[in-house]
Symmetry: C2
Subunit: 422 residues, 2 copies
């Protein structure tokens, strides 16, 4: 693994992050989940991790499909019967067993039958490229045979690894353009993607882009750019852009150039620029980027360590936690329930801390919500019953503000949508 | 198939619907698609189908996770190494071939090695239930060992069929509650789900619910309710709810009752109510439900047939189409581009019809957008250049309104969010 030769403070930093992710419901507890997550693979996420990934994928979708006129969503199958030999295949156990159980078959017949079963089993996809290339022809009709246009998709893919296959949530934009413009489009999308990643970062400079050196270019590609994130253990690529030429498009459509030609008067076949990302690693990058460890002395001169997950407001899985102070009464809980309902209806993701009912100090509560990356904490107390006033604490400023109960929903809605527009 | 014995008008209706879906970018053209689609399986969707399914899944997610305090999202792997024998498995071709190529192996050794490879290959999931049951223990910690709570997930599953496996986009809510309350919770969720399906329907009465007769109960279930849709060819189930008892939960956690016990003072293990839906069939149900075929005579007494896809405003994939009248000028196109940018920024899904540039009559244009289910069509003409006024046509009323260009974005935003709140 990456960490084995890393210095101890790097190991510490990674361990702290993974422990926090498991403790605070980002990933399900368990060694293997941490390992998968660190390698940029899909794992069992906890509810906060699910929401973070959903938010990230939603932002990606809007940024790509909403960036230009002709970017369409596609949705292809994750396994498909018409792919070439090799790769991973979805094999049904029953027919497989039936062949093994046929004792009258010779060794050769057995091998022949098994080979045939394997080849007729659907392949699982390793990327979203193939599906988009297949969708090129119907899409070309839709845009009245004019370039450029793009096809966007996100979904699980399977990466072969150590004889096993790892699941990864990929995003893909496949951009079709004229041959002479493809290099410019690669630059356009590389800038677009880097800007997007940095938009949600606490330290934008940890995200960078780099041209792929000529000797590392993949087969059939003429240029490549990687969007990189500086993890504690080193650089990893989050998104990769390639100028792919027309070879794969021709291959998928069996070389029938006439099907692929556009209205621009030339006889050329479009070139393909692919932009594919790993959103499991993307979620990990933002978690790593947003974890702040602050040290300070408390009143008794003891060193206190405060960990805060400063996720961007649009990515933060929980926007507001609802809690009650000490000596909570039935009325206070009812106010919490009413507020929760209001938040849910306004689609503000809220954490019903008042239901946990383990009395704890305000300090421990704040520490917990900071580690969860909760933007605001609302505490209902005696005062709320008397005057309708409540305390709202901000994760980022740690300042407590007093607000009237009727204002809180609007305040949160405006805060989140303002952050989205920055 | 279902349709083989159906009367001709049913076949007609189904054919019309599927043709429209293929022509208007809901599904990719191709014969096999229609069969998959009719059987409620995932197919290659066109961009409008992708957006419809996205909207549907998003609504489902909000309605389930936003309905109560303790419903959490989970995200489990679509293939997992720790499941029992049988089912479909993701097998890597290379190690498989390597075993077949080992000529020194005897027939028995060959079979043994292949069996071992199959068993060590990850299983693909056929439902989301197993994943949620596995997440029960960490989730129980999160809610401080109190019931009830639920785990929600959506994603692709593989249904075995004819020795092959079909992909289906499933939704799942797994609800954990006390044994004595499970039947009441089943009723609660059945009402909740039926109300949700009807909310977006043009003819709500085509959606119904029915108790599963006792002799049709699945193994380990004590009650079941199905949410049904009346397709032209008959009833099909969109969502199924089961009272599952505690047997499967115990099985997943190897019978260790102490891990599963809650804080309610009793020694009982929670019961499980499962709610699982097929959103490929769901999308199809809404397409079928919203297709209106209207006949009327035109000015020359010819019978005209108008097809309108009256999808609910929150489900409709395209909220507004932007087009130019005859004799379009560069300035008119620039206005379209400006408006498109405004719509994309406001996350209003817009169709840039002005880019298609094939001159067509307004009548044909309206017919096309009606079949696409586009809510509003905005036409930029001479008048817009002069006075800033444009024509806005509503799909549902067919009425053309004149509006100032500065009002249109707000008008659309308000229309869609008002429809969402109904």
């Amino acid at each position: 693994g990456h960490c084995d030769t890393a210095p101890p403070d790097v190991l510490d930093r990674v361990r702290t992050l993974l422990q926090l992710c498991a403790d605070r419901y980002y990933i399900s507890p368990g060694e293997s989940n941490s390992e998968l997550f660190r390698r940029g693979w899909s794992c069992s996420y906890g509810p906060l991790g699910v929401e973070l990934k959903r938010n990230l994928l939603q932002q990606w979708w809007h940024s790509v499909t909403g960036s230009r006129a002709w970017v369409f969503g596609v949705n292809t199958l994750s396994s498909s019967p018409v792919r070439a030999a090799g790769g991973a295949r979805v094999v049904q156990s029953e027919p497989f067993q039936q062949i093994l159980d046929q004792s009258e078959l010779s060794r050769e017949q057995l091998i022949q039958k098994l080979n045939r079963l394997l080849l007729s089993s659907p392949s699982v996809r390793t990327s979203l490229l193939q599906g988009a290339l297949e969708q090129f022809v119907p899409s070309l009709e839709m845009v009245n045979k004019k370039l450029p246009f793009g096809l966007a998709e996100s979904g699980p893919c399977f990466q072969p690894s150590d004889g096993c296959s790892a699941e990864v949530t990929q995003t893909s934009l496949v951009w079709f353009c004229s041959p002479r413009s493809s290099s410019q489009w690669l630059d356009h999308w590389a800038r677009h993607r880097l800007k997007w990643w940095r938009k949600f970062a606490l330290s934008p400079s940890d995200f960078s882009s780099a041209e792929v050196p000529e000797n590392e270019l993949e087969e059939k590609t003429s240029r490549g750019v990687k969007i990189l994130y500086k993890f504690p253990w080193g650089l990893e690529s989050l998104e990769t852009l390639w100028c792919r030429g027309d070879a794969e498009l021709l291959q998928v459509h069996k070389g029938i150039r006439s099907k692929l030609q556009t209205r621009d008067g030339r006889k050329s076949v479009p070139h393909v620029v692919s932009v594919s990302g790993n959103m499991d690693r993307g979620a990990m990058a933002y978690l790593s980027n947003s974890l702040q460890e602050l040290r300070r002395e408390d009143g008794r001169k003891r060193l206190q360590q405060r960990k805060v997950l400063k996720l961007h407001p649009v990515l933060a899985p929980v926007k507001v936690a609802l809690d009650v102070g000490k000596g909570a009464t039935v009325e206070m809980r009812q106010i919490c329930e009413g507020l929760l309902q209001e938040f849910l209806e306004a689609k503000i993701s809220a954490w019903p801390g008042y239901l946990e009912a383990v009395p704890t100090s305000l300090e421990l509560l704040n520490a917990k919500y900071d580690e969860m990356g909760v933007l605001f904490t609302v505490v209902i107390g005696e005062k709320t019953l008397e005057s309708g006033l409540l305390q709202v604490r901000s994760r980022d400023t740690t300042i407590r503000e007093t607000m009237h109960i009727s204002e809180i929903r609007n305040f949160l809605s405006k805060y989140v949508s303002a952050a989205d527009k920055l």
